[in-house]
Symmetry: C2
């Protein structure tokens, strides 16, 4: 069994209140007894029980981080940004993969509330915030990240996706491209649609001459999906001169199909991805893409959360932090 404060008290011949005070550096205990107690604690291999402390203090110094999938190269950086700041502030973090399932996400939210985390950072599996979500979010500070609609009723930190799509489209246009293709992840995804919207906005004025609806395709967020979409487009003899994918994985898949079919990049077809995940910068890939400050996003989300945990005043104002994207020009466009 673990040593407790009472064991120490007994050995030191004092009450356990004194031990608590001594160990927590509180005012009002004789320096010599304090010293003795600290030494005793060390000798007895004492480790304070954070569970018991959490019960009385009603806070656990723990937060939950719910993301769709840590295996998706977008999220490790977000997680790292979050964790680094949390660690510095003395918090621990529960990692939860929702696996893009609303159901698993909800189960986790409930579980974390039961475990009395001090707050929640969520990169939601789906853009829509349900009533049941809202009910849960009322119980504790929550900050949403990435792909969250304005007016969702919760604090959030997001990317300016519209701008991201816009700068990609604008660049391609300036490079003289005139036959565009858009490959998106899920049509239900808010951020995908925003990127699409921004992209189309850049193309305004050029109208349907530069992008026709059968060059706009949706799948899931995976490489394979980008590959399949691009491949079948090419096989149908629909050859664009520029492809904008709503994320890098999709773009990577598209690249694979494009080079398999013998087209050169960017000469024949230019490709721009989104997010600037690590593999995008590898030699032999060198994907032109839109930078998404992932680490920063995780960090900011946590910083907002901590503010709200520490100061209840700041809660419920539905603040929205918007990060700026940036075009990273490499080989493929």
């Amino acid at each position: 069994m673990n040593t407790t404060i009472k064991d120490i008290a007994k050995k030191a011949g004092v009450s356990y209140a004194t031990v608590s005070r001594a160990l927590n550096g509180k005012y009002g205990v004789n320096p010599s007894t304090r010293e003795e107690i600290i030494k005793l604690a060390e000798d007895m291999n004492y480790s304070p029980n954070a569970i018991a402390r959490g019960l009385v203090k009603r806070q656990t110094h723990t937060v939950g981080l719910i993301i769709p999938d840590i295996t998706n190269p977008f999220f490790p950086e977000v997680a790292r940004g979050a964790e680094d700041l949390l660690e510095k502030k003395g918090y621990s973090v529960f990692l939860c993969n929702s696996n893009w399932e609303k159901n698993r996400e909800n189960k986790y939210i409930n579980l974390l509330i039961e475990k009395r985390v001090d707050g929640l950072v969520i990169a939601p599996s789906s853009s829509i915030v349900t009533d049941s979500d809202r009910k849960q979010f009322a119980r504790l500070p929550v900050v949403l990240m990435s792909g969250v609609q304005a007016g969702c009723g919760t604090d959030s930190v997001v990317l300016n996706n519209i701008k991201g799509g816009f700068i990609a489209g604008k660049y391609l246009l300036e490079k003289g491209r005139r036959k565009f293709c858009f490959i998106g992840g899920s049509e239900d995804s808010f951020s995908v649609m925003e990127r699409y919207e921004g992209f189309m906005k850049a193309l305004e004025g050029y109208g349907s001459s530069v992008i026709s609806q059968d060059y706009v395709k949706f799948g899931d967020y995976r490489e394979k999906s980008g590959y399949r979409i691009m491949k079948s487009l090419i096989l149908e003899k629909k050859i664009p001169d520029a492809v904008f994918a709503s994320n890098d994985l999709l773009a990577l898949g598209a690249i694979q199909a494009i080079s398999e079919e013998g087209f050169r990049m960017p000469e024949d077809i230019a490709v721009i991805g989104f997010d600037n995940i690590a593999p995008a910068s590898f030699r032999g890939v060198e994907l032109t893409t839109v930078e998404h400050p992932k680490y920063r996003m995780g960090e900011l989300a946590v910083s907002m959360l901590l503010e709200r945990i520490e100061d209840p005043e700041k809660r419920g104002k539905e603040e929205r932090l918007v990060l700026d994207p940036e075009l990273i020009i490499r080989r493929t466009a």
Copy 2:
């Protein structure tokens, strides 16, 4: 304030022991009262306090996962394997990045012990297990992963690195390569040295004619390091016909240097990496490498840990699970 069991008891007009029993599906409460209590709990938005429960049951259904860096593409898969199984078993997981710092790792171990996790899965930042480690590990079930020496005194799941190095060397030899280069991460890393050892074993009988000491280089585990090492080797006119890197990131860096310098792969120089991280399979990369069952490793480590948590009998036997590597032949060798 959150609803407690007592609030429910008051409203239902029963003692709170009864509420506890009802909610936990324990034997011995009248079906109709139980139903009423459950309904009441729902209406009152009751969420059981896992902290309080943890205090009395002396278990938290929580484990800690300490890894060097979730941003390193090796670890997300490990983490996912761990988390998937834990989730299924009703456990939550603390994610901790040691950032390869022994100091941060130790801080985390202490913190997690304070938070009374039921067990720990650690991918250590350094291969050596110190006395202070051992002292902490005696307090709770611990399973070590990856790069852990036999005889370290703790249960572990590892890869057969020697075999991994061996099959890489053997394959290269069979392909007629005769001028080898080895690029390793830290020399202090046990798994790097094992991979080296296996590699050299394959080359036995050929002796120093095929690999000289100035073709054996160490750096850190990052892409940049592989790039730098390979680049300077080539600039010194030391041109091997085969490179074996102790991990894929290093190999990716080496590839970059090699193609920048105008050599063809595998014709001029063959490259084999290690771990088979996701980017290794991308088009334009297609790195030949040694598969490391990462997801499985996370899963197995957790499964061992859970065994030990649930059955104290199984503790302290220093069991060692060894996974088998496998050569994945792609473009670069």
